[in-house]
């Protein structure tokens, strides 16, 4: 059974600080996505990571993928309040269709 685990599930951090969110998955995956969800809103695609060692950056967010460890990280640099949201990782299993399998999400609150 596939498990996609994120930690932490809740994160409160001060503006200007750095932090990393972790996403572990239990079986081989073809690709991994990170999405952002604001309260009451839908999901916004942030990154797609396709291969081992892939790294992508957009603004203060950087995502990486280690397929051997079945681990992805989302690193936040110098957090600002606008980054407050819930972040989901989602994996597509190898040879098992194209459904996204989501983690429970990390609820991030950036405070002054």
């Amino acid at each position: 059974e596939l498990k996609v685990e994120q930690n932490p599930l809740f994160l409160s951090m001060q503006e200007g600080k750095n932090y990393t969110i972790y996403c572990n998955y239990s079986t081989t995956s073809d690709r991994l996505y990170w999405y952002r969800q604001d309260p009451g809103k839908s999901l916004e695609s942030l990154f797609v990571l396709l291969s081992n060692g892939a790294v992508k950056q957009e603004g203060r967010l950087m995502a990486s993928l280690d397929t051997k460890a079945r681990l992805s990280t989302l690193h936040i640099t110098a957090a600002v309040h606008d980054l407050s949201a819930t972040y989901f990782c989602a994996v597509v299993l190898t040879n098992s269709g194209y459904a996204l399998n989501f983690g429970k999400g990390t609820s991030l609150l950036v405070t002054p």
């Binding site: 996609v4 996505y33 999405y35 809103k41 839908s42 999901l43 916004e44 695609s45 797609v48 989901f88 989602a90 597509v92 269709g97 194209y98 459904a99 996204l100 399998n101 989501f102 983690g103 429970k104 999400g105």
Partner: protein
């Protein structure tokens, strides 16, 4: 351009009733996906279409749930004999081709009383 749209945005129904939820994908997108999101959880896969055909319906929880996409564009998720446990936000997504990045709509919030 226009994103994925879903109607209605909110639906309140009584236990045992039938509901239909509609999804309009991004124009030109060939693949369409349905997910369900309960409060405080990540979305759970229900079904996806490639063109008009349901390529994978393994996530549908039981035979009360059914989805169609007759012309390869708009899709309707149908729920018969609704139960209180069906209450959730139903999300639709589309991608240009199967396996590419999925773009989500705003969702339909279903409440079964």
């Amino acid at each position: 351009g226009a994103g994925v749209s879903q109607t209605p945005s909110n639906k309140v129904t009584e236990k045992g009733k039938y509901v239909e939820l509609r999804c309009d994908p991004i124009s030109g997108h060939t693949a369409l996906y349905w997910y369900r999101q309960s409060l405080g959880q990540g979305p759970e896969f229900l079904i996806y279409f490639q063109g008009t055909g349901a390529a994978d319906d393994s996530g549908l929880p039981n035979d009360r749930f059914f989805a169609v996409r007759p012309e390869g564009s708009v899709s309707t998720l149908k729920i018969q004999r609704t139960e209180r446990g069906d209450s959730a936000v139903y999300l639709c997504a589309s991608s240009l081709f199967i396996g590419e990045t999925q773009y989500f709509g705003p969702g339909t919030r279903l409440l079964v009383l």
